[in-house]
């Protein structure tokens, strides 16, 4: 027993830190090299989107939803449209449903490619970042071609989609998917057997199944911990029940599993897109009855979908007026930030970065 005492010290990681993917502040209590306590401080990216939406008509909410989570804007637009359609019990043309699935899955691939790039860069490999960005660009080009914007699309509208795909989209989409499928072996070859990568990720940051369930973790992070739960299967929306795809599951729950699971998901998403392109019916893409000032009947709904990070939900209350009475969004990243302190203590800062990156937390979804 020593008489003198040492002190723990406090390190501020963020809010401006390259590996926090936005502005998240982590207050770390350190004992030498080891982390004793983590305290996430959120709210730096709060834009009061939910409040803003209460003062906008339903159609005008769609571009606002884009900004809730700008890496997979399509799913945010989609979940709001779906919630409104459920309240209004509205029909959506079959072609629009197929186009929605194509866009949602393309967006999922784009998001996972970004994940692949930035995660590897956070852990210290630069080449994957360039690879991931290069292929993501192909998908972003497809979006730009269809809806005219590269990040905040305003494409999926209440009652359908805003416009039909342009000529040549299908062919370009297929060739982009082919390129990505070819490059997948490059991605895997670069990291899967890389000894440095394995040392940094295998067995690091194990998220136990029970803890994940207790904290409402969803999406790829949950499936990497061995729970086969995907809303596309468990609570089918749109026309996902028509497609044939697998839900990849991994059982270790460490950083490596969270990373590899997303690569598996890219392959499954590609399968869905091929099936949707093959089965794309002709017809309208928008329910013609929906005007810019459209009023759903009074009612409320909680609608949830699976976006690339987990369960994205919208709780929408309508009082029968032009504007929604209350909109509440539930982002998966919020739960993922919460769980960080519970399984990331007693490790090095470098491993915390690996944890943070592989959880694929994105701050706008946390703060809204």
């Amino acid at each position: 027993m020593r008489e003198l005492r040492t002190e723990e010290f406090i390190v501020n990681m963020g809010p401006q830190h390259p590996s926090t993917h936005g502005v998240c502040r982590l207050v770390l209590t350190m004992d030498g090299e080891k982390i004793v306590k983590i305290e996430p401080v959120i709210g730096y990216l709060h834009r009061a989107i939910e409040k803003v939406m209460e003062n906008r008509t339903y159609s005008q909410c769609i571009p606002m939803m884009d900004r809730v989570e700008y890496v997979t804007s399509m799913s945010c637009e989609y979940v709001f449209s779906l919630a409104t359609e459920r309240i209004a019990e509205m029909e959506v043309p079959e072609r629009a449903k197929y186009l929605r699935v194509i866009m949602l899955e393309l967006n999922r691939i784009a998001s996972h490619l970004l994940f692949y790039g930035v995660t590897a860069m956070d852990i210290g490999a630069l080449t994957p970042f360039l690879y991931g960005m290069r292929e993501r660009e192909l998908i972003i080009d497809l979006f730009e071609m269809t809806c005219g914007q590269r990040l905040t699309y305003n494409y999926i509208r209440i009652g359908g989609v805003s416009k039909d795909i342009p000529k040549g989209f299908e062919q370009k989409c297929r060739s982009a998917l082919k390129v990505i499928a070819e490059k997948m072996s490059d991605y895997e070859g670069l990291l899967n057997e890389n000894p440095i990568w394995l040392k940094r990720t295998k067995g690091v940051g194990i998220l136990p199944k029970e803890l994940a369930i207790a904290y409402g973790v969803s999406g790829p992070n949950l499936r990497a911990s061995g729970v086969q739960y995907d809303l596309r299967r468990n609570d089918p929306y749109c026309i996902y029940d028509k497609f044939d795809f697998d839900i990849p599951v991994r059982y270790n729950g460490d950083c490596f599993d969270r990373y590899i699971l997303r690569l598996d998901e890219i392959k499954q998403s590609m399968r869905i897109i091929y099936q949707a392109l093959d089965g794309l019916p002709e017809g309208d893409v928008k329910n013609k009855k929906v005007k810019l000032t459209f009023k759903p009947p009074a009612g409320e709904t909680y609608t949830r979908i699976e976006n690339s990070r987990g369960e994205l939900g919208v709780y929408l209350i309508s009082d029968g007026g032009k504007k929604p009475l209350r909109v509440k969004t539930r982002g998966a990243s919020f739960n993922h930030v919460q769980i960080l302190p519970h399984f990331s203590t007693n490790m090095l800062i470098a491993d915390l970065v690996a944890n943070f990156a592989t959880l694929d937390i994105i701050m706008p979804e946390v703060d809204r």
């Binding site: 159609s59 571009p63 606002m64 071609m145 905040t152 305003n154 416009k163 039909d164 810019l292």
Partner: protein, 166 residues
């Protein structure tokens, strides 16, 4: 001993293999662009800066009806009407605050006269906040037949989607 052979193998086989990949990339066309000098052509549907259209005789299409301002989710549009030379209604003031605008394209979709549309330009850097308030004069396209009365006019409005786009 085995490990030594493995390590030597890595140096003489794996490393040249890796370097060969690097060497191959030296002769490939780069995927990046030399940005300020070379620009990426935007797609026809791209939503960039706003333009106000004119009729073929040079008069403004906009009748200052206010539908675009009502549709705008960012409250970026301000306008005041006036009476033109031939008694028609037109905009005296028509301003867009580009700092508020989120380039959603609702103004273009709402306009009954197909007067406003979003073009291809996307570089708006300026050094004063005031220069982001765009007036009617900034946005009006030039008179289409000022120099040549027989010029073929290509309308750039994409309001009715599905119509062939130039």
């Amino acid at each position: 001993m085995k490990e030594v052979i493995k390590a030597v193998g890595h140096v003489f086989i794996k490393m040249p293999q890796g370097l060969l990949v690097t060497l191959k990339h030296l002769f490939k066309k780069p995927v990046t662009l030399d940005y300020p000098r070379k620009k990426k052509p935007m797609m026809p549907r791209y939503r960039g800066r706003h333009y106000l259209e004119r009729y073929d005789d040079g008069s403004e299409r906009c009748v200052c009806c206010g539908l675009c301002a009502a549709a705008c989710p960012a409250d970026a549009i301000y306008m005041e009407p006036e009476e033109g030379e031939h008694g028609e209604r037109r905009a005296k003031v028509y301003e867009i605050n580009l700092l508020r605008c989120i380039f959603c394209g609702f103004c273009e979709e709402a306009c009954p006269e197909e007067a406003i549309f979003l073009g291809q330009e996307y570089e708006f850097a300026a050094d004063k906040r005031n220069s982001f308030l765009w007036t009617k004069e900034d946005m009006l396209v030039p008179h289409p037949r000022k120099d040549n009365p027989f010029k073929k006019i290509i309308r750039r409005v994409r309001k009715v989607y599905g119509v062939t786009e130039q």
